[in-house]
């Protein structure tokens, strides 16, 4: 098999790799914010449950979580394993990344000075208006570098979907590597992730620059 056929075959999985990546971001970024807000709740039960959630999802391997979400329903209820594995894969990824994003959001929110809340309160902003207009925009600017870190990791973590045999780019590459006894597919995958992350870095750099109009 030539390098070109390998690349052609692997690129068939690119769509799925991108699907994991974009769908995970789409769900985990808002979910992470929600988890962060619940984590900071004054209600001990709520914050306790969220704390446990974060600690389990950060404390166990993503690979295990993928297996649990994909095959768990079968072992627990005898439900048939979904044929389209995108759903469990995205669920597992989103739950996992939300836990990390939540802690990043929390760090950002807690770094805001109390004076910003008080200024808004005295001016009569509701709590929601204060959060959406005054706090969150500044938090986003502060946490952007940490979020970029997570996104870069996510690009590489999509390869983890091979554990449930979801046919994304890396899974196909691994199959070719096995059948052809070749290391080349891994090199191709490596180059692909690198290029993908260069693009991520560029986009996030632009975003940071756009927010650099204030300090």
């Amino acid at each position: 098999m030539t390098i070109w056929t390998m690349m052609a075959k692997m690129s068939e999985g690119l769509g799925r790799t991108c699907a994991i990546f974009f769908l995970t971001l789409l769900f985990s970024l808002p979910l992470g914010l929600l988890v962060a807000l619940l984590r900071m709740s004054k209600n001990r039960v709520v914050s306790g449950i969220t704390k446990a959630y974060i600690s389990v999802l950060r404390g166990t391997p993503l690979m295990l979580q993928l297996l649990a979400v994909t095959y768990g329903p079968f072992y627990l209820f005898g439900a048939s394993v979904a044929r389209e594995k995108l759903v469990p894969v995205v669920i597992a990824f989103s739950l996992n990344y939300a836990a990390y994003f939540a802690e990043i959001y929390r760090g950002g929110i807690e770094s805001m000075s109390l004076g910003q809340y008080e200024a808004a309160e005295v001016l009569g902003y509701s709590r929601l208006q204060c959060f959406m207009r005054i706090i969150l925009p500044q938090v986003i600017k502060r946490i952007l570098p940490s979020v970029t870190n997570e996104i870069v990791t996510l690009v590489k973590d999509t390869s983890m979907a091979f554990t449930v045999a979801y046919q994304e780019m890396f899974t196909i590459g691994k199959q070719i590597a096995n059948s052809q006894t070749s290391f080349l597919p891994f090199v191709i995958a490596g180059v692909f992730y690198f290029v993908f992350n260069a693009a991520v870095g560029w986009v996030m750099g632009r975003a940071e620059k756009r927010l650099s109009y204030y300090r």
Partner: protein, 254 residues
């Protein structure tokens, strides 16, 4: 003259320590009242209670006859949220460290709350805000961001932001303490101008000469109570209470 603000028997504790003890105070329309006293005397806490940033443990807090809090058997019972929100519209607060919104331009810092909170027309608010910025000598800085301004300019923006809400009374919490002496002068000039226009103000300050000049009434606080109060020329120039004499002498020595 109508009583604009009335605080009766205010009590406030922090973790068992009494910060304000049975403190009463009232401000009439057009009056400029200065609160002086050493750090830890409770001045700022009093201001924070008056502006609803802190809740009193006991006492009444009344704006133009509207009860924000009412004393019931020694405990302050606060009005429901919508009522408090209405009362918030009656006062403005200028912070020691400005607390401008750094991600908004100068103009947006001033215009957002009147449009968002008071639901006034954007065009009208904008025009008024520009006039206010002009008064503050900042008309040409409307599109600048807070970080591009000096401390004195930032404080003037924050005064404009408070005034844009058309408050009946304006509180200042040590408005010049974060500024060097040169910039202090420009803020004091602005406050003096407001006083000439009969703006009702309550000013917590360490600037004694200024307090004597600009205010109609001075309150000297120590240990959570008002020790001495009255005409500024009496309290500042001829204090009678031991603690006031001591405090003013120490200030002069500096």
């Amino acid at each position: 003259m109508a009583k604009l603000l009335e605080i009766n028997h205010c009590r406030k504790q922090f973790g068992g320590t009494e910060v304000l003890t049975d403190l009463s105070l009232s401000v009439e329309e057009g009056q400029v009242l200065s609160i002086i006293g050493p750090s830890g005397s409770g001045k700022s806490t009093l201001l924070r209670c008056a502006t609803l940033l802190e809740t009193m443990d006991g006492g009444d807090l009344i704006y133009l006859g509207n009860y924000a809090a009412r004393d019931e058997n020694g405990r302050a019972v606060y009005a429901p949220r919508p009522e408090l929100q209405k009362i918030r519209g009656m006062f403005g607060l200028v912070f020691q460290n400005f607390n401008l919104f750094p991600h908004y331009s100068v103009l947006k810092n001033v215009t957002e709350a009147p449009v968002l909170v008071q639901k006034r027309s954007a065009a009208e608010v904008r025009e008024e805000a520009m006039a206010l910025l002009d008064q503050m000598g900042l008309a040409d800085r409307a599109d600048a961001y807070p970080w591009q301004l000096s401390g004195g300019q930032q404080q003037r923006v924050s005064i404009a932001r408070a005034l844009a809400m058309n408050p009946k009374i304006l509180f200042f919490d040590e408005p010049t303490s974060a500024l060097d002496p040169e910039l202090t002068g420009e803020i004091l000039r602005v406050i003096r101008k407001l006083a000439e226009k009969k703006m009702t103000m309550v000013i917590v300050t360490h600037e004694m000469a200024f307090a004597r000049d600009v205010s109609d009434y001075v309150v000297f606080m120590n240990g959570g109570v008002i020790v001495e109060e009255g005409d500024p020329r009496d309290v500042i120039d001829h204090p009678t209470h031991e603690r006031t004499i001591q405090f003013l002498r120490r200030l002069q020595e500096q």
